[in-house]
């Protein structure tokens, strides 16, 4: 039997949507007992959300003021202490999980598996490398703990409605004082979150300015969509960094992705491989984005996008 500990990501009050997907990956391992560990200042509502996830056996909480902010250097030793009787420790491959899980693995003296995209057995997994251009099958040694991150775009969230027991635990861990939280700045937007939106409209370098990017927002609002961007658009300062889609931005899997004035570099495409339908609008018929698009429209975005927004009523 596998005993899997999933590390909960949260913002202090709600559970991150990536966790229901990380649990979905863990649930693919046969005969697994899945516990979720919430490290927080006050775990109450977060733990309750985790307890409602299908396939979860127990929710464990470690409450302390030092867990108010997700600092890997402080969380890792607590996770190591809590993981003693588990065969696997999973986290999401978000910036939270990518920061934390290698530190956990190194403290446990094992290698870490990044971005699990499918489960072939309790110790056998597939993951993408080279910006998603290659898929490799990995087998982890069976005699040591498996520490991994889960590529959440590869999984659908598990259902809710469960009511797993919640237990507060305490661990014996030395917490360093060398790392301190200062502040955080979250992009404020009323639009659907890029990582969970069913529809995403994304703009590239071709938009040419912050003002022109309004074309993207207007279309997105018509569709109730989240907004994304290529690296070139972020680097040019048209939008904030958290909207970047791709190898080094967000990996997303919306039902519909509309790429506007984006060429389709491999680093961008790896972020949208799991989208249901990809629409591309680009004035260059030869743009690589058309090789992956389900629906392509060759045309100037400055006429096409207003027309499309108009046509949607």
């Amino acid at each position: 039997m596998s005993r899997i500990l999933v590390i909960a990501e949260h913002d202090g009050s709600t559970l991150n949507a990536s966790i229901a997907k990380t649990v979905a990956c863990a649930a693919q391992i046969e005969n697994a007992e899945i516990d979720v560990l919430v490290l927080a200042d006050a775990a109450g509502p977060i733990a309750a959300e985790a307890a409602s996830l299908a396939s979860v056996s127990r929710v464990l909480t470690i409450e302390s003021e030092s867990n108010a902010h997700p600092l890997a250097a402080l969380l890792a030793p607590q996770i190591v202490a809590a993981a003693q009787n588990y065969t696997h420790v999973f986290g999401p491959s978000t910036t939270f999980g990518k920061d934390l899980m290698p530190r956990v693995a190194a403290l446990l003296g094992v290698n870490q598996i990044s971005d699990i995209m499918s489960v072939a057995g309790s110790h056998e997994f597939k993951r993408p490398i080279y910006a998603g251009n290659v898929v490799v099958t990995l087998s982890a040694p069976a005699d040591v703990i498996v520490v991994a991150t889960v590529r959440t775009a590869s999984y659908k969230a598990v259902a809710t409605g469960n009511s797993a027991p919640i237990e507060s635990i305490s661990v014996d861990a030395d917490l360093p004082t060398h790392t301190r939280f200062v502040d955080a700045q979250a992009g404020s937007s009323d639009r659907p979150d890029l990582q969970t939106a069913a529809v995403v409209v994304a703009g590239g370098r071709a938009l040419g300015s912050v003002e022109n990017f309004d074309l993207i927002y207007t279309l997105a609002d018509k569709l109730g969509a989240g907004v994304g961007a290529s690296r070139a658009a972020v680097d040019a300062g048209y939008v904030a960094n958290e909207l970047q889609v791709g190898q080094t931005g967000k990996i997303i899997a919306p039902d519909l992705y509309i790429a506007i004035g984006i060429s389709g570099a491999i680093q961008h495409l790896t972020g949208i491989k799991d989208a249901g339908t990809i629409v591309a609008i680009n004035k260059d018929e030869e743009a690589p984005i058309f090789e992956v698009a389900d629906i392509g429209l060759a045309g100037d975005l400055f006429t096409v996008v207003p027309e499309l927004t108009e046509a949607l009523g």
Binding site: L71, F96, R103, Y130, T179, R180, G296
Partner: protein, 249 residues
């Protein structure tokens, strides 16, 4: 501080479309253009800027790889690093072993700061910096887009999923570089000539006496599943119809 240590990995250039070998045993790298991992280049650029503004006196670049990684270290020296160390090995060691090897170098060199890329674009692991920091028992600041040094502390701005975060860390520490930390300089020809005279020491991986991590076996490589061929529409009307047909509007 005296010294900044920067990790440089030799990887397939980011413009190359990699191919899986026909027998699925790996990725075709014969005759393929190799470069410094772009994130490591950003790491080095940052170290050089810190030195140029008086924040450090020596920049040491280190790589774990085959003797061919000398090329990338020479490029690093041409960019402005003072000294290079190549930990030579013929097989690609696992990340934990690499981090243990780097720790050996850290213990010998005693840097005030280690900067590495946030991920290598070949295996896309994004682990080395964090593992090194853990083994060293020092702070880590991943995905850095700004480094502000202040005596024996630093404030690091990190790119996180929801936006930006700032953390304060005591030095020494490990920082991993994100894309927007800086734009690396181009290497000029005279610098390449000068770099030939800079010291590049080789140490055999085996001589460092590091214990190998529990090995994760790579059993097979395959191309990703292809998406079905799409359609081109002539105009917005065609696009709207096509979206409706798919039940997306």
């Amino acid at each position: 501080m005296d010294k900044i240590l920067v990790g440089l990995k030799r990887v397939v250039d980011y413009n190359v479309r990699v191919r899986v070998k026909s027998d699925g045993s790996g990725v075709e790298t014969d005759g393929v253009k190799m470069s410094i991992n772009p994130f490591d280049e950003i790491a080095l650029e940052e170290a050089l800027r810190i030195k140029e503004s008086g924040g450090a006196s020596e920049i040491v670049v280190v790589s774990v790889g085959t003797s061919e990684a000398q090329q990338q270290l020479r490029t690093g020296l041409a960019m402005g690093a003072d000294r290079a160390i190549l930990i030579t090995t013929d097989d690609a060691p696992d990340v934990l072993s690499c981090a243990r090897a780097l720790l050996e170098i850290v213990n010998r060199e005693d840097p005030g700061l280690v900067i590495v890329g946030k991920q290598a674009i070949d295996d896309d692991n994004a682990q080395t910096g964090q593992m090194l920091a853990a083994l060293w028992g020092r702070p880590q600041a991943t995905c850095a887009s700004k480094i502000e040094l202040d005596g024996d502390k630093a404030i690091i701005t990190r790119e996180i999923d929801v936006g930006m975060e700032r953390i304060e860390i005591d030095l020494p520490a490990v920082v991993t570089a994100d894309l927007r930390l800086n734009e690396p300089r181009y290497v000029k020809l005279p610098d390449i000539m000068k770099a030939k005279k800079k010291p590049l020491d080789e140490i055999a991986f085996a001589e460092l006496g590091v214990e190998a991590g529990p090995q994760i076996a790579h059993s097979s490589y395959e191309p990703p599943s292809e998406r079905d061929k799409g359609v081109m529409v002539d105009d917005v009307q065609g696009l709207v119809t096509s979206l409706k047909d798919r039940g997306l509007l």
